[in-house]
């Protein structure tokens, strides 16, 4: 069957079988390998993508369910000139990455949080990544990256206010 969705701003049409999972369609058919396969049970968050503004686990989501939606994967975050998204910058600058496998999910979880609330508390930050496992960093640097991301978001808002 044919399904279509808007992915990272581009309208795409793909042929899928009813039992294909979104993660496989992204990685194998659309070459978007930034979305990682971890536990394949919807528990580790490595496969998180943003679908219609919500963070969803692509490994347990049938591709068909995503028909007609707007999807953002980690590849969709870079700017028009290829520059990094403020959240990506914050993760790099704070050293919130070791093996990097959880990072796309962490970055997208941060984006969903800041898009809804640009000024979250630390507790809200922890809650926002409570479905994303990292086995390297112990989360401290990830939290630092999230805080710095919030500052960048704030600056952006202020910057827009000036212009």
């Amino acid at each position: 069957m044919n399904i279509s969705f808007e992915i990272n701003g581009k309208l795409m049409r793909v042929q899928v079988s009813p039992s294909d999972f979104l993660i496989d369609v992204l990685r194998e058919k659309l070459d978007l390998t930034g979305t990682k396969k971890g536990c394949e049970k919807g528990e580790c968050g490595a496969c998180s993508v943003i679908v219609d503004g919500l963070l969803l686990p692509a490994c347990i989501l049938l591709a068909t369910k995503a028909h007609g939606t707007k999807i953002t994967t980690i590849e969709g975050l870079k700017g028009p000139d290829g520059d990094l998204h403020p959240i990506q910058r914050a993760f790099l600058e704070t050293g919130a990455i070791q093996c990097g496998y959880c990072t796309p999910g962490m970055v997208l979880a941060t984006k969903v949080l800041l898009d809804t609330d640009p000024n979250p508390t630390e507790e809200e930050m922890k809650r926002a990544i409570s479905g994303n496992l990292c086995r390297c960093t112990g989360y401290k640097k990830i939290l630092a990256a999230m805080k710095r991301s919030a500052v960048y978001y704030q600056e952006e808002v202020d910057g827009h206010g000036d212009s």
Binding site: E40, G42, L56, L62, R127, S130
Partner: protein
């Protein structure tokens, strides 16, 4: 092997697909459990999946008179965003926040959590304490209304046969002035963890005395378990520290939980239930008091 995935937009359409599938079509909502079974090929062979999440009547939360109605395909995230449920079904609201992870709550549905029939499903425990009824509808047009424990057939097995029937909605009375509930849970981590034990209580007072009470604990058998003996002990009494202490002891004695290498020994878990029952009752009582204060101020 799943060959068809249907997304009907009306109940009639969904029931027709189910009927024509004659046993090989199955209802699905969020699919967080079912899709995994399909992945692991552990479930029975299904040809057609009937996704009910695009049917508007199943994805709404409403209140008619003092009856709260939650569509079976309402997600946990939707449920948590509802002020109606936060105020009128506190234990349910609290229990939804413990389901899976944010990602899972974004797609997993209330009806799905019930039909998945985990013995200590957090929302099933709170819904039992709130005396909720599940409204079922079959592809042949038969409807019925069942309380939550009756929906369980065996461990991890629901009485709801999703190849011929579905839950339309969960209904419960909205908590009024002298009523409140609370959900309590003990687990090894705060997110993405199964409960060691969980408890929900619902309390109704009349002139300071306990007029109605429901105490539910799990996992102590296939379905959430009401602790009738403990409830009996509380009826007619005033909520005071000595009573709470005896209810703690009584509920620990009444519930029987098995030992688990992962979730602790039987005696540990049974004692925990008592602690959570006391905490829950105290919380519910405090909530009733707050409501009283609020109304006397206004």
């Amino acid at each position: 092997m799943v060959s068809f995935y249907k997304m009907p937009t009306s109940l009639d359409e969904a029931l027709t697909i189910l009927r024509e599938g004659s046993g090989k079509a199955k209802i699905v909502a969020g699919g967080t459990d079912l899709f995994l079974e399909i992945k692991e090929r552990s479930g029975p062979s299904i040809e057609t999946l009937v996704d009910i999440t695009k049917i508007p009547s199943l994805t709404t939360i409403s209140c008619e008179g003092d009856l709260l109605k939650v569509g079976a395909a309402v997600t946990h995230t939707q449920l948590l965003a509802s002020p109606l449920l936060r105020e009128g079904a506190e234990a349910l609201w609290e229990s939804a926040s413990f389901i899976g992870s944010p990602q899972v709550r974004n797609i997993g549905t209330l009806g799905g959590n019930i039909v998945n029939a985990a013995p200590a499903a957090d929302t099933a425990v709170s819904l039992t304490a709130l005396d909720a009824k599940a409204l079922l509808y079959s592809s042949r047009g038969e409807s019925s209304s069942l309380s939550i424990p009756l929906l369980y057939k065996d461990v991890q097995e629901s009485r709801v046969d999703s190849t011929r029937e579905m839950i339309l909605q969960l209904e419960m009375k909205r908590e009024g002035m002298n009523e409140a509930s609370s959900f309590q849970r003990f687990s090894l981590r705060r997110s993405l963890s199964l409960p060691v034990v969980n408890v929900a209580v619902s309390l109704g007072l009349h002139k300071g005395h306990i007029e109605r009470i429901r105490i539910v604990g799990a996992p102590a058998g296939p379905s959430p378990l009401r602790l009738y003996q403990t409830e009996e002990m509380a009826l007619g009494r005033q909520v005071e520290p000595p009573l709470l202490d005896s209810l703690q002891r009584e509920s620990s004695k009444e519930i029987r939980i098995r030992s688990s290498l992962l979730r602790g020994s039987s005696s540990y878990r049974e004692r925990l239930v008592g602690v959570l029952v006391k905490r829950g009752l105290l919380e519910a009582f405090t909530r009733i008091r707050k409501k009283e204060r609020k109304s006397s101020l206004s």
